[in-house]
């Protein structure tokens, strides 16, 4: 335990001026702002946002649907030949409610669903849900 001492009492006005000097000192420091669309900070390796789905790897086990805390993932029927996915069900993701918790990526037994560095997504309110095919496409193709 340590007792916190009250700071030394400053002379009236002198203390205020010292505090002002502390603030005014920052006038000569570089701004920290990043001008976003022109400048971009590099993303750390583990940064995660947009979910991708590899249609070839997905076995349709529904584990991601079960583990999703927000019920953002639902299994959809997709007519696609895949010997590993007999039931022909693939997950879709509603990015309106997705919290990017990474649980689906962690639990996926075949690493078919994974999160990526893509974060510049722009959708309207009615199209937050990405269908399985859209999940497997790059973002700029989806927006088209």
């Amino acid at each position: 335990m340590i007792e916190v001492k009250e700071p030394k009492k400053e002379l009236p006005l002198i203390g205020t001026m010292k505090a002002m000097a502390v603030v005014a000192k920052h006038l000569f420091q570089k701004p920290v702002t990043v001008q976003y669309p022109e400048q971009k900070r590099e993303l750390p390796d583990r940064f995660r946002y947009r979910i991708f789905l590899s249609l070839d790897d997905c076995v349709g086990c529904t584990l991601c649907e079960q583990v999703c805390p927000n019920i953002s993932i639902h299994m959809q029927k997709v007519d696609r030949e895949n010997p590993r996915n007999k039931r022909k069900i693939y997950p879709d993701v509603n990015f309106g409610t997705c919290t990017v918790c990474r649980n689906c990526e962690e639990i996926c037994p075949t690493d078919a669903i994974y999160l990526t560095h893509v974060f510049e997504t722009a959708r309207t309110r009615n199209s937050f849900t990405y269908s399985p095919e859209e999940l497997s496409l790059p973002e700029d193709e989806v927006i088209k």
Partner: protein, 377 residues
């Protein structure tokens, strides 16, 4: 604004004023029904629940491993502390203790997020008092902490970094290097922020001797954390009932006997300095080993079963954060109960703000350090 129109004063000649839920100083969605006698606050009635999501019910409907993100969203400015609190309970209930390495990692992350939380508080408190600039210095520093979080787990605020029996992703040398770099430059910046506040006569006059909370009253209302310690009660869960590896770390608990706003301010700043001390020790001591308990393998995440009752408490940045878990042997918890420190600390506001001025009501509610995700849950 609803209710802010002039109405007839009541029988005492008091005027009712409705501050919030959208008000610049209420840190979210606090609504205060205030009875005013001129400038003097005669009665305060906090009205809460505008951010209520009933996280307890949602946790009951989900698997044990899924509840983490709802705990992140309770104290969203210091999410790691919430995760530690939940896992303390869940791991005891499920019988999956984390490996040694994980415990040290969790200590580092919890203390980093304590710094992040206190920095938000310090900046917002300045805004409450009308200081515009130190807010930005606090957030510049906080951004560095959040950058470390992104590097560790990919998310800034709602991290979802820890999982039952471990952490999702391991520490690496770059992270350790970044954390050490941060702890090296942070104390100097912290002193700058500190001086920008306490050297100011007006700041001292706004905080000193205002909002005095006697220790008996504080305990009676269930106040914990920095507020309780600023009232002169030397109590910290990290010391009293050490969880993780806090008993192997050398740190001090700051206490003040002045009981006022200034004391709370000073205690929180000292806590940040102590947190740096803890991080510096813990980062260097992280042992090698697995970062995941093999009993909680990834594919088994949703099949964990727990039975019995566990109450675990941790020292979050706001105070004593308790999680009471009741399991019935199923894959989902039977009952989850959260003791949120902000809620208890808020309940003392009507007592503190009685017969103070409006300006002091704002200052006092600033020192309580409210985060509404946690109050309303």
């Amino acid at each position: 604004m609803m209710g802010s129109h002039i109405s007839k004063p009541d029988e005492h000649g008091w005027v009712e004023l409705n501050m919030g839920p959208q008000h610049p100083s209420t840190h979210g969605v606090l609504r205060l029904k205030v009875k005013l006698d001129g400038e003097i606050v005669k009665e305060v009635e906090p009205v809460i629940g505008y951010l209520h999501r009933n996280a307890e019910k949602i946790c009951e409907l989900d698997y044990y491993c899924d509840s983490m993100i709802y705990f992140d969203r309770m104290d969203y400015v210091g999410a790691m502390n919430m995760e530690v609190g939940y896992l303390e309970a869940a791991e005891k209930l499920l019988g999956i203790p984390p490996p040694e390495r994980v415990q040290w990692i969790r200590v580092v992350m919890a203390e980093l997020s304590r710094i992040a939380s206190h920095l938000v508080w310090a900046g917002a408190f300045g805004l409450d008092l009308g200081m515009l600039t130190p807010f930005f210095y606090c957030f510049v520093e906080r951004e560095k902490v959040l950058r470390i979080f992104v590097e560790a787990c990919g998310s800034r605020q709602e991290t979802n970094y820890m999982s039952i029996g471990g952490v999702y992703q391991d520490f690496n040398d770059k992270l350790v290097h970044d954390i050490l770099e941060f702890t090296e430059q942070f104390p100097k910046k912290l002193d700058d922020i500190f001086n920008a506040y306490v050297k100011n006569d007006i700041f001292i006059s706004r905080t000193k001797g205002i909002g005095i909370l006697e220790p008996e009253v504080a305990l009676d209302y269930g106040v914990t954390g920095p507020m309780l310690r600023a009232s002169g009660v030397d109590y910290d869960v990290r010391k009293a009932e050490p969880y993780l590896v806090y008993d192997k770390i050398n740190f001090d608990v700051p206490v003040s006997y002045k009981k006022d706003n200034l004391a709370r301010f000073l205690v929180r700043f000292e806590e940040m300095r102590q947190a740096i001390k803890i991080i510096n020790q813990a980062v260097k001591k992280i042992p090698d080993g697995p970062y995941f308990n093999p009993k909680a393998k990834k594919s088994l995440m949703i099949r964990l079963r727990g039975e019995g009752e566990v109450y675990a408490r941790t020292e979050s940045s706001k105070g004593e954060f308790g999680v009471y878990l009741v399991g019935d042997g199923g894959v989902k918890p039977y009952r989850v109960r959260v003791r949120s420190p902000s809620l208890k600390n808020l309940s003392v506001l009507p007592y503190l703000a009685k017969d103070q001025m409006i300006a002091d009501l704002v200052a006092i509610s600033g020192t309580i350090d409210l985060v509404f995700g946690e109050v309303d849950r």
